[in-house]
């Protein structure tokens, strides 16, 4: 595409760059929890890449050092310590990323919950903000917090 090549080397650019996709303060937009969800989705995605890498290394322990080392490692997950705390954070990221991911699949690929196009009338609230994807968003937030708390219970108190 010619558009691409022509604008790659831009010097006096006012682009926000990656800042706009990882900081909710880069651009202030009122009435926009979707953007918060977008930023959280991206941050939890980055977290999960790190987590899955470490997870693969850690589940490789039996092959590397035998089953005794593996049992020892699993035991370290119980109670409150730095490993279980990190695990807890990763589980929160997993909960949000998966639940919000289901919402995004529904909205983005099936175009569900974004209302019908309409003639704009005061107070000019776009139909996609009035549709039920907003409710889905709040449900996703609430569900992931509940799941996170439940995981915290399992990790810290039952382990």
């Amino acid at each position: 595409m010619s558009v691409k090549d022509r604008f790659l080397g831009r010097m006096l650019d006012n682009r926000m760059g990656l800042k706009a996709s990882v900081s909710s303060w880069a651009v202030r937009v009122p009435n926009n929890p979707e953007r918060l969800a977008f930023i959280l989705h991206r941050l939890t995605g980055i977290l999960l890449v790190g987590f899955i890498t470490l997870h693969i290394i850690s589940t490789n322990t039996p092959a590397r050092a035998g089953w005794e080392a593996w049992v020892e490692e699993v035991e370290r997950l119980g109670g409150v310590n730095i490993v279980s705390l990190l695990f807890f954070i990763a589980m929160g990221a997993l909960a949000f990323h998966s639940i919000n991911g289901i919402r995004l699949l529904l909205v983005e690929f099936l175009a569900l919950g974004i209302g019908r196009p309409e003639k704009p009338k005061p107070p000019y609230i776009p139909p996609s903000f009035k549709g039920f994807q907003r409710n889905l968003l709040y449900i996703a937030f609430a569900l992931s917090i509940i799941v996170w708390i439940a995981m915290g219970y399992v990790i810290f108190l039952m382990g």
Partner: protein
């Protein structure tokens, strides 16, 4: 963008400090400059910039044309939110607690000077999605006989998206557009959907093929900031989701254009005149037959005086 009547009709604090992010292309210097201005009720950010330009600093550069939210040339970032300068009341942006305005050029655009931004890329991307109807009946295009038929329901499928004034606020708020130069941006994608949903358009295979090879619809992540900042309530976020689901259907080979409008055939003969109901009473001395044959001519002078 949701409109807050209460905030917009308040009396703004006076005086107001206006901080403008300036850029000088000759020296390459970027700096914030502060101005203090007196405000009045109903003053917009554009009025404030104009009063600075006329009374304080004539080197301040910005772009505007219609002063009433129609042309889309005065987009700036006010206190971190992309807005039309002429449509933003100072009372909305500055409160008595913090009588300050921060005015910056639009994010994600090249700055030409001070608040003026370069829209070349924006218009190139708009052109890329072919912002016109594509038809196969070329003779009809060259020598149009009659209009294409379209029902009000079919019109309402795309009417909202055709209200775009190309102000660039949506691209300026988009977090994907901010980090990806190849992304077409909410404005262009909304227009792509607008022509896809138009029943008068026949080029849907071409459009979807091009969009598919470009990949832009799949780069959107539904942050929906575009819909939140759009001054014309165009709802780009909704349009892009619809475009993406159409494109997905096309990839699965189940996309069907609902209908393609054809030229309305000319009326064969005049429709019969609806007869008067039997209970209708006529004013005395009026001959209906005669009136139908020779409709009364009202002299123009009579209408004027």
């Amino acid at each position: 963008m949701a409109f807050d009547l209460k905030a917009a009709t308040r009396r703004p604090p006076s005086p107001v400090r206006v901080f403008v992010k300036r850029y000088d292309p000759v020296s390459g210097r970027v700096w914030w400059q502060a101005y203090t201005i007196k405000t009045y009720k109903g003053m917009t950010v554009l009025d404030a910039l104009l009063s600075i330009k006329s009374d304080v600093d004539h080197t301040l550069t910005f772009r505007y044309s219609c002063r009433m939210g129609v042309c889309g040339s005065c987009g700036v970032v006010v206190n971190g939110t992309p807005k039309l300068a002429c449509q933003t009341q100072i009372a909305e942006a500055a409160s008595p607690a913090s009588p300050e305005l921060r005015v910056e050029p639009l994010y994600n655009f090249k700055v030409v000077r001070d608040l003026t931004t370069d829209f070349t890329e924006f218009f190139e991307k708009h052109r890329f999605i072919r912002p016109h109807t594509i038809r196969s009946d070329l003779i009809e295009r060259e020598k149009p006989t009659l209009e294409y038929s379209q029902s009000p329901g079919e019109l309402s499928e795309y009417y909202q998206y055709s209200l775009c004034i190309m102000c660039g606020l949506c691209d300026s708020a988009c977090p994907v557009y901010a980090s990806d130069t190849s992304f077409l941006g909410p404005q262009a994608l909304t227009q792509a959907y607008r022509y896809l949903a138009d029943t008068r358009d026949e080029g849907w295979i071409l459009r979807l093929k091009e969009l598919d090879s470009d990949g832009s619809p799949f780069k959107c992540h539904f942050a929906a900031s575009c819909s939140a900042v759009c001054p014309k309530s165009v709802d780009p976020a909704g349009a892009v989701q619809r475009l993406r689901s159409s494109l997905l259907k096309y990839k699965l080979r189940i996309y069907r254009k609902k209908k393609v409008s054809q030229v309305v055939p000319p009326m064969k003969e005049a429709k019969p005149i609806v007869p008067l109901p039997p209970e209708a009473t006529l004013i005395e001395g009026v001959d209906i037959k005669k009136l139908e044959e020779e409709p009364p001519q009202i002299p123009v002078e009579k209408l004027l005086y």
